[in-house]
Amino acid sequence: MNSMAGERERETEIMHGINLVRLRERVRTYIDKHHYESALFWADKLVSLSDGAVEDVYWYAQTLYLTHQYHRASHLIRSKNLDKTQLSCRFLAAKCHYECKEWQEALNILDLVENNTVSQLAPSNSFSVTRSVNELEKDPHTKELESSINLLRGKVYEAMDNRNLAMECFREALRQDVYCFEAFDFLVNHHMLSAQEEQELIQSLHFTTQCPKEEVEFLKYLYNSRLKKYDKPKDFHIPSPFSCLSGNLDLVVNLAERHYYNCDFRECFNITSRVLEKDPYNSLCLPLHIAVLVELKRSNALFYLAHKLVDMYPDKPVSWFAVGCYYLLIKKNDPTRRYLSKATTLDRLYGPAWLAFGHSFAEENEHDQAMAAYFTASQLMKGCHLPVLYIGLEYGLTNNPKLAERFFTQALSIAPEDPFVLHEMGVIAFTNQEWVQAEHYFKDALAKVQAFSKEVMVEKWEPLLNNLGHTCRKLKKYEEALEYHQQSLVLEPQNPSTYSAIGFVHALMGDNVKAVDYFHKALSIRRDDAFSTTMLGNVIEALMTELSPCKDEPDTIPAFPIATKIDTSSSATESQNGSSSLEDASDIIKEVEMEGAD
């Protein structure tokens, strides 16, 4: 489009005393000011005045597009065969059909032209839109246009559920124009690529040829900050050359997202709340904020946010996602599913909603339905390991460790360094009684976690430490097991299962006193714990047989001298009924001699 604008100033055309150039400028100004109807009116007149000059037809179609008259615009272009000759018109026509959700039609237009390459048909008239291919190659504007066409094609493919082709198109678009953030965003946000593929993509982009030297690093940094945030905990610092960007909300949200994936929910919440204070409807931040509200169980805040969102943006999936999350949080699963499916109908590709949909089933132990939802999610988000991980979890819960392991392996192939996946692999190894293997996985995961946060670990990793403890116990490394359990107690104090695990280790080590103590603690928090109850009974019994009866009691009991005089001065001991009418015994005071008892 700009290409036309660029060439326009060369000639001034005056038709019937009307300065067409000025009129064209007027149309453009109206468009800029969003006065589409006025623009439409004058563009229409221009077409007649210039007798159908390509430029004027294009802008007329453009105004039609802007006033949502898609079919009319498309028809206009196609009736003049411009879609076959003009790249920009072709794009516009296809875009019109895309807007009407006529995917096939849009593709047809794009493909048709592809076959009869534009250049050969191009009647090179006064306008530069239709220059030869050779020239086109060099013209950056046309190159951008090609990129746009690829982007559109990708969107169409994606809408047609042909994700592989879509991915190719987006990639191509990005290669043709490294500044084409939209294509990048589609690739990243729709989780089309795995972490490694994303890296490769960034590597393959032609930064050096397409942008000025000083922007190369800048662009690389911005893109990198958007890449996979969850596959492994990472450090995040804004490098010094770009420190001026530290206030940029986009980057701040990225930071928050990393905190989120590192399970530092409170910090994430702090950041997202601050962002939303500055920019209450930041679309990037909202899903994150919703997720963190769920994690922190702030149902009231979520309720209010969801209400506001639904009022303002009823046609955005994120609003209904928020509502669904609210119901998920307060454990009302029916409405959860209702609202989440509303979100997914608005945008079939809205991954988080599918995952939450699965969670709502998982919560009720509806494993099959949960898995179905996760499967859908996994198809939508090829590059994201979470759905696969969840499927594995569900298989694990339904006692199907083999399949579970297969999915975990798949997850691991997507995100080889995610401690969560490593942890689950460890769990599977544990249930398969491969203790050494389990220990290996757990330690691996722990190393990944600790690599990032040495001094303060987050509570989320309490199960990992406990599982390490269990594994060490199985491997008979009791001291180490205790160490891990104690660590987990620091992360998650007063956890009854940790207490009973510690008790168990102590029992195995033969320290029954401590074992009893810990089982007691476990039971004081969770009274119906069958394991602890049984263990406590056994351990107390063992303890009481091994222990001395009471503190510093004698080994043998010294005997009392039996040689007693029966002191009968105690005739105070009157019999109860006072009928001590028997013989007077008071005078029977005698020393009774006995053999010394020993």
Partner: protein, 581 residues
Amino acid sequence: MMADFSIWNLLQVKTDLITAHRECSQRRLINSAKWAAELSYSLRHVKVDLQPLASFQEGEVDIQEYDRIILATSYFDLKEYDRAAFFLQDCKSPKGYFLYMYSIYIAEEKRKVDNASDSIGPPDKMENEHLKSLRIKLSKKHAARELDGFCLYLYGVVLKKLDLVKDAMDIFVEALNKEPLHWGTWQELATLITDREMLLSLPLPSHWMKQLFIAQVYIELQLNEDALQIFHNLEKKGIANSTYILSQIAVAYHNMRDVDRAVTAFTELQKMDPCRLENMDIYSNLLYIKEMRPELAHLAHKCCAIDKYRVETCCVIGNYYSLRSQHEKAVLYFQRSLKLNPHYLAAWTLMGHEFMELKNTSAAIQAYRQAIEVNRRDYRAWYGLGQTYEILKMPYYCLYYYRMAQQLRPNDSRMIVALGEAFEKLDKLQEAKKCFWKAQSVGDVEGTALIKLAKLHERLHEDKLAAGAYSEFINQANIQGTFSYEDQSQAYKYLANFYLKNGQLDEAYEAAQKCAEYTENREEVKAILRQIQQERTASVPQKRDLRIDDSCGSITTDQVDQDHTPIRLSPVSCNLRFNTP
């Protein structure tokens, strides 16, 4: 350890107390402030120059935050803790930060108590969320070494609440080394110490407050004589009129079961400080044990008039109703006191006793368990647990709890007797014998150890030992003037049979005569007497022990069976509110 009392330079102490009071009350640590003020009041004969002390010694930062802090503390005083926290958010000074964290802590704790359900039960897990987040914040600050003595105290309190006892202890010690003048820290630390060795191994600052701390720990560890020693030394040093010290002395006497001196101390305390409610619950325990009904009634009414809604008042009233055998009402008052403060140890234990009276074992177990949660050193709660499990016929549990109780009070015969009985039920007679012997050797309060020992010997056919024990029992019974007709008659009967078997006819006759004073065994005694007569005439000792053994056996089992039934439920023996020896 006992004492370097030379650090008790009264002038210094007084200055310290005034400083401590100022610091604590500025931070709204009201209990520590009160304590400092009380002690300072008792030193009113010491003259110090108040001018430099009273003046505002604020740092520069504090002046910048001055407005924030006074606003927040005003809200704090009005119990609007969240509001206080909001205005303190950005405070940088240590004092501001402490008040900020402290407001959050108090706000959440208050919410927790307000939200707590009426039923007693294990605490809800979710309610500790705030403690966890406080811990995370404070541990980050601690790692950066940014916490002052007061913040460290708060950190320790949070850790303690989260049951991370070891860490809590380290933090308290660190806090004391930074801020020895904060009595609250000493007090929190005192509850964590489990034995004398641990006390000695702590790297505490040598400060005059340490003496008071050690005394308090001694009291908690039931080392009452040592504690009294320290207090008496302090009195000699010139701190004579301190209500705190006097109350501690009273508690020590109470623990030692020196009821009369304890009562005297409490009366004196009431004279000095008539409107005092602290420790009055212990006083009411004493009155309960002495069954001084009018005094207890008077105390109850008086406390009620001072403040109905105090834990101490509720406990006093609860005891009053318990003495009147209105156990439901008693439970109600103990529950009220727990509603006011769920961590009030005495009420949990007393409520456990009341539930025992009401034969509500499971509720009793709950109450005792909570008591132990609050303070693991409460031997009465352990003992109560032992009793409940005895009723529930879970002998090993019962044994364990008695054993815990006995460890806490090694020289209390009641625990040892209970232990012996538990062993007896498990047919571990050797252990049982050891326990009974030990019980009588430490001074038997209830006078049952010997007879039980004797019966055990009898059951094991250790005739001589049995005879020895029975005769010792009779001796003791005569000396102490305690009566148990059944036991005595049994003792005499056994002795009669024993002598008869050994051919000591005179002694046998004598014993039989004594035995005949009791109605129960009259027929048997007649048989014995007849037999003695026969023996005398035949002058040939005959072995007739078969029948005797039979009777003994049956009697023994009868006796044991009786023990199985919850005789401990009779109010006096059940309650550990020390009946007078």
